[in-house]
Symmetry: C2
Subunit: 679 residues, 2 copies
Amino acid sequence: MNDPRESPSIGDVTIDDEFFRPRREVNREVTIEYQYEQLEAAGTLDNFRRVRDGERGGHSGMWFQDSDAYKWIEAASYVLASRDDDDLEARVDEVIDLIADAQGADGYLNTYFDLEVPDKRWSNLNTMHELYCGGHLIEAAVAHYRATGKETLLDVARDFADHVDEMFPEQIDGAPGHQEIELALIKLAAVTDEDRYRDLAAYFVDVRGTTDRFAWENDHREEIATLEEWEGDEGGAEGDGEIGADDEDADSDGDAEEGNDDAEGGNDDAAEENDEWEDAEVEPYDASYNQAHAPLREQDAVEGHAVRAMYYFAGATDVAAETGDDGLLAHLDDLWENMTTRRMYVTGGIGSQHPGERFTIDYHLPNETAYAETCAAIGSIFWNQRLFEATGDAKYTDLIEWTLYNAVLPGVSLDGREFFYDNPLASDGDSHREGWFDCACCPPNVARLLASLERYLYATDDEALYVNQYVGGRAELSVAGTAVSISQVSDLPWEGSVTLDIDAAEPATFALRLRVPGWAEDVSIAVDGEAVDTAVDAADAPTYVTLDREWADAEISVEFGMSVEVFEAHPDVAADAGRVALTRGPLVYCLEGVDHDRPLHQYAIDPTTDFAATHREDVLDGVTVLDGEATVPSLDGWDDELYRPAVETATENVSITAVPYYAWDNREPGEMAVWVREA
Amino acid sequence: MNDPRESPSIGDVTIDDEFFRPRREVNREVTIEYQYEQLEAAGTLDNFRRVRDGERGGHSGMWFQDSDAYKWIEAASYVLASRDDDDLEARVDEVIDLIADAQGADGYLNTYFDLEVPDKRWSNLNTMHELYCGGHLIEAAVAHYRATGKETLLDVARDFADHVDEMFPEQIDGAPGHQEIELALIKLAAVTDEDRYRDLAAYFVDVRGTTDRFAWENDHREEIATLEEWEGDEGGAEGDGEIGADDEDADSDGDAEEGNDDAEGGNDDAAEENDEWEDAEVEPYDASYNQAHAPLREQDAVEGHAVRAMYYFAGATDVAAETGDDGLLAHLDDLWENMTTRRMYVTGGIGSQHPGERFTIDYHLPNETAYAETCAAIGSIFWNQRLFEATGDAKYTDLIEWTLYNAVLPGVSLDGREFFYDNPLASDGDSHREGWFDCACCPPNVARLLASLERYLYATDDEALYVNQYVGGRAELSVAGTAVSISQVSDLPWEGSVTLDIDAAEPATFALRLRVPGWAEDVSIAVDGEAVDTAVDAADAPTYVTLDREWADAEISVEFGMSVEVFEAHPDVAADAGRVALTRGPLVYCLEGVDHDRPLHQYAIDPTTDFAATHREDVLDGVTVLDGEATVPSLDGWDDELYRPAVETATENVSITAVPYYAWDNREPGEMAVWVREA
């Protein structure tokens, strides 16, 4: 294992990028503000007030609703790390005071348990999410501390973590039902320099799949806190979340009620009990749902609920890196290979099945019913970033770019006000983003990712500066002991031109590593106008091209060849058989009904077609569209025929226009298809 | 309108046919016997005993369970019409005695109402199926009378019909929620020569869609008999039918619970209330579900629950024929054209959507989630037979043949013991027939159709003898006043050779009309070895070829050219885009996983491929299989790749074997596809 790479602090990077600027502005001005309003509207802050005031009962909303407050603080803290905002800071401080006041003397904090079932703490690890909420508390605290230097929330998080550390494993031996605290504890260990938080994270990573605690809980519901109690309390009845929605992976897809694909959140999902197990006394416990079917090191494929899996593997990668466990790291890479070569959509989306929001089996990647949850894609970015930090391998940062553009950004409308929780790759016209209001699920995850994008652009280790993502702006970093300033201008995702200005405080020798994207047709690099023979072949991409020299003040011009690629899927992917998908650079494209006269299933594309890429400022806030020819069947002779002998079918040539998949469903509602029939 | 054609009595026809003999034997010896056992096991006969004995409460099973007894009598009567069976006849008589003893003095009879809610008769026409059960009572009575000459059950049916005639429309103005009594009353009118039963049928046909009674009932549940009461009573709790199952169209598909396609019976279905409307106080009434959205003459497409639609249109066709209403008949033909050119599977199956078991929109014909209920196909045969009788048009009898082989027979396993309720045209390997036990739904309908197949083979009118179906055996018919004996030997469905021996009691001049199937490539006919120039072109088929001459004793040899046809679907059928289906003669073929090494989605067929048809006695109890070449993608270079540029894809030629669709799922479980990708 190499020495791990460090991602920069948010404050060390300033993003100023044509493509991402409007998205980050909307995120800050609309999404994070709305997120705050919801904390009052949904009773989330009132829950903390009630606990602070010593009340009992009256919990409002979902049983894991505390995490909404923590996620808002985390996102707001990322904003505060990159810009001054006194009003926002004051509001954050107010919410933190409230949280601090609600915390018990022993460090425990969970308003649902405190208000409703205080004597049942830690009795139902599988379902009740105390550790999950605690993980978000810790992440918020670390973000807030890093942004402001204030320890107000960090103290709360430490007290909570210390309490957990006392309880686990001495008094309770078991893993969380929903992973999250593992990666959070690693962050806490980093800012506090306390190894025991890391050890606790390692314990939670390792204990999963080694005990039968979840199954026992499932068989002893009368002895533990359960969702039945939650459903029966006022919170369940009054909350605006739908019954059975499950934290950030809640099912909020309106289609679910229309029989298209039955909606179920997972095995701790009350809705599922109604639908699937209404006659069963006790629903069977499926250990693979939360990756507890085997110890991690014995799992040979990515299984179960995709968000849980990503959070788990992210935390485990942290633990492997922190403990120098090369075997575990290699095993996690095996799981990554399984995911990326068997169980991932062409967009980078993961979790192909709506019921259980989960991975299914190799090559099972249905398009119209794809779940491909936005949160799971974000979790994949979390995991890939950690794998990169631990290994320095460009395949991980390359997948981050692809996933960001094609599996996370589709989750947000261009105006930032509506969200896809699930991201189908084909639609008959009934799939549409929904407002935040239905469920406080994916939007906060998008908010915290976009607000912390700075951390993904560069990285450093003892001898190198990595340029991972081509997003314009500036960074002030320390490389090999020297302060280095780097400015970037990027034409991505529309063109492959990038200019980097390096300015070292004093001349310093280090390796500048530029990620050569997997999509690059070719790569040419010039330093101060002079072409560099990089000895890197685009066929090897994704990889890093290394410019190892003494750097003082230099301008690096990079040109990644960008052309339209027509992709096909592995022959075992039934959903994509006889179909192709268009990509250009880092973007997956799709056809939308609004651009076409015929139903989309009638179009067929010859893979050798020349597509013209044209940037159109008038389309979808400015996108590069792909224009080309396709064939459609002639409609001659079909009057009042439904079936006929397939004599040589006459076809007609027609024009088609493909738009970036991330931008679909921002115009008139209609059909959409990523995979189009091959002519 | 021509003079209507008459179908023969069952006793006038003796079926002796290679293909149908085993099916009819199993039907008689297994299915109808099992059907009888279920009458005791499910408490159906006990319900009648309780009413006979003056008990209250204790109703067992579904609220429409009386119809199970009637359906058994009907099927058994068809058997009795074709062969002596003292034991069976005695059992039928016993059940009839019981029914007669249970009938009220006023003619009313419905054990659910009599036992559970006697004061709520006729209060809920939409849901509670008193008229539906009464229709099956009448059909059974007519069948029994025709088979045995006994009027024991006919008297019960007359008393019931007289009671209904008193009530409707004078005291209650409304249509049945589930059509059935319309066509039954026409049968009753025929055997009793009572026009008022025909008039009552016409009333029920016409009143539908003209009142808001169903909607009113839906909004006033507290004032009427409801399924809530049924669910709450012992019958609902004790019955072995599943909650929410709905008469012959009940949902008994185990897949429904697996999220594949949410299962719902219809708008009077309690299960649907749980799934779809659990938060709604009153579920909205969808008038199109039971064809009450407009008066029949203003309906311009086949809508709603497919079985209800077929029974309705069958009854309406009877009424049109009986009343000489050419306008109504023409309108029904328009509906038939809509169905067959927009809303019918290539198999003849209808009703593409599981929720509501219904027609949806033009060209919406999904394959894997096809409902295509066996009962709906049987209903289609009922309707088509009546349309033929009224018009003499071969297109109707041709569709009967196609539907029988490809949409009804698939509903029964080769051993006659398991049944498909829904008939998907593609399966990933999870669709399998189920035993009778789950629901007394499609199997009794299959039983009565197969037991009365005699009625579909021939027809006569004043001047012609029609040979409609090529099924071997003998018939003794009266044509143009002369007794004519006809023997048939048929090689269908495997080859197109048919031999007919005509033997008239005395030389008589009449037209012998032989249906030229739509699938015939060509047709050649010889009478006593001498070729006849029929002036009929196979391109005009389906049609009748008419041999108009004086007949005494003659042998007619018919050869319909049978070859493999590769079909394509209308370009607007999204599910079949870029796909072809194989047929040969009257049979639709499919690929099954058990015959192939690759997943079925990898095969692509060139429509110009020569397929070899080979009869294989060792396969599926003897079928003609189609062998040919197809292409599959090469798997080279796909190691650990999931997506790659669609460079010219290498393909390999491999052999495929297609088997008749009706015979699928009778070997190892596996994939199945009717529509295969076109190369």
